[in-house]
Symmetry: C2
Subunit: 341 residues, 2 copies
């Protein structure tokens, strides 16, 4: 059996380009795998900004990533697939699984790797790598566990039309918060206001003074800032935070490529307003997963919450899909469909 | 009765100079005060870096300060005094009080202002504006409530020989932590190691690479950083923090004068290491005061903890004492003795 995989030609420093990637073929034989391995035909794979960190030549974040273990040419990603060969009695041919796959037509899931049998619960399979998986958990845990959002809080979300942001805003609205999001185009701003129920939204590219812009949208200040970008937006948000405000630091896409300047928040404000700035990773909040999945299924089942997905088709579209994340090309969760079910 | 007070000639932007201040005389008559006022003869007054924030021409911190209410020419400070005239039946002439006084020979404590009768409990009066008052509470609450220090944690304290820092280190040691402090002179470093029981200490002025220096003193990383300075030290500390580390942001003396550059911490680290950076003010931790004072009295009574005080004498020494805070001239808690008991 031949497997086609997407790999990096070399380390990537700065913004990624499609030419940084190539498709390689490898021979895949069940007999050559460690005992207990499961081979999965990939159906949907995820494309996320954080993956850039493990492609860098020298990034301290590489070593923190739970993806770092056993780095090979394959690039790990979250995904959904179907078992085609199994050396593990718990998994049978034809089983649907969700977990840590790789950018390829097939993934080899070695014993001890992170995956589970998937019950789609009537939702499209693509939902299970976004709103009903880590994107959703990141939004939920970041907003409620880290940001400690409560009814009536004023919540600001950056990259609000992104994979996590658009869910943060909807969770916050359903919880009784006032929510404003920032995004990078007029169409995205419309989406947030018209389709996703945000109280308001703005195009950060039109804002000449982010501090004044946030002041306009939050005349009574910000209680929770769900930060996906870092940089100047973080500084401007801190300027507008209320006393005892919380910043949930989910991503710093402005800094991943090394092109945006680092945020230098006003620490005098941090003290006098007693702000908490806390970084988090969704995988630390697995104990919250059952609560999250129950809420998310309820909201999505009743149509109160929608999952926006931006699906491209075919393994060869992975590089362009990934590059798009850094140029604002995507709306919602970026997913690549590798094969039909 | 004539009262001499220390006031600013104008707003102070940048590092304070002695010439920014002057001594003024005012006539003080009990009959001219609001009903219920208490007039106190000041014995010891405090001199603290944060006071600079309310002297600035345009500082957002002015409005946050609990000192801002009813700003007059007088500069508020913590202090200990003796009642000389009272329109309040709860206070009698001769009573010792501690609370929010002003830089002057006398303070008028209007109804509703923050002060209480003082029981010196056998300790010198000067202790009651430092180790047994807000400096001590700041150290205790910052270390345990904000920094969540626990036995075995590796704790780093900057400005470790300062009013708060030298108490943080001693509380941490008595709690079973490993403690390293930074200070700005050889003599201060010796004090930390020889007299205050720090595991180690270094002179930050000798460190050409703060990141590497901290790596040397914390080969196993930092769990709690008690930040009194901000700027580059905060960045270097974050580079060396362990996963789930906590930064208690107490002060940013490097930024108060507008001369030091702002910290631009690596937010990718903040996320991947799941760090919490939290600003705090001691007055939010009044519920912890009884616990703190009981521990502090126990440790100080038994000699396990010492309060380092740097006392200058006379109202006219206030400006130089204040200026010293920003040039590293003080060791321990800076106090001005205004009058003999």
């Amino acid at each position: 059996m031949t497997n086609r995989i997407v790999v990096t030609k070399t380390h990537i420093d700065g913004a990624p380009k499609e030419t940084d990637f190539e498709v390689k073929s490898q021979v895949l034989a069940q007999s050559a795998q460690p005992a207990g391995s499961v081979i999965v035909k990939n159906l949907y794979v995820s494309v996320d900004p954080y993956q850039l960190n493990r492609m860098k030549s020298d990034s301290s974040s590489q070593s923190y990533s739970f993806l770092a273990a056993g780095i090979g040419p394959e690039i790990d990603c979250y995904g959904v697939g179907k078992v085609v060969a199994s050396g593990n009695p718990e998994f049978q041919e034809g089983d649907l699984v969700a977990g840590l796959l790789t950018w390829g037509e097939y993934s080899v899931l070695k014993p001890g790797s992170m995956f589970r049998k998937l019950d789609a619960m009537g939702f499209p399979l693509s939902n299970h790598i976004g709103a009903l998986a880590f994107s959703g958990l990141t939004a939920y845990a970041g907003l409620f566990e880290v940001g400690k959002a409560k009814k009536g809080d004023r919540v600001f979300v950056s990259t609000a039309s992104g994979s996590v942001g658009h869910l943060v805003g909807q969770f916050a609205k359903l919880h009784g918060c006032y929510v404003v999001g920032s995004a990078g185009s007029k169409a995205k701003v419309e989406l947030l206001k018209e389709k996703l129920g945000f109280d308001d939204a703005f195009n950060y590219k039109d804002a000449t003074d982010l501090r004044a812009t946030l002041k306009k949208y939050f005349p009574d200040g910000i209680d929770v800032y769900f930060d996906n970008v870092g940089g100047e937006m973080l500084e401007a948000a801190i300027d507008n935070m209320n006393a005892f405000g919380r910043v949930a630091v989910c991503g710093v896409i402005s800094e991943y490529t090394g092109t945006g300047r680092r945020a230098a928040p006003n620490m005098v404000d941090v003290i006098y307003k007693r702000l908490t700035i806390r970084g988090f990773l969704a995988n630390d909040f697995m104990p919250v997963f059952p609560e999250f999945i129950s809420k998310a299924c309820e909201h999505m089942g009743s149509g109160k919450m929608v999952s926006i997905e931006d699906i491209s088709v075919g393994l060869d579209s992975i590089p362009s899909a990934f590059v798009d994340l850094f140029t604002g090309g995507n709306v919602g969760k970026k997913i690549v469909q590798i094969a039909q079910e």
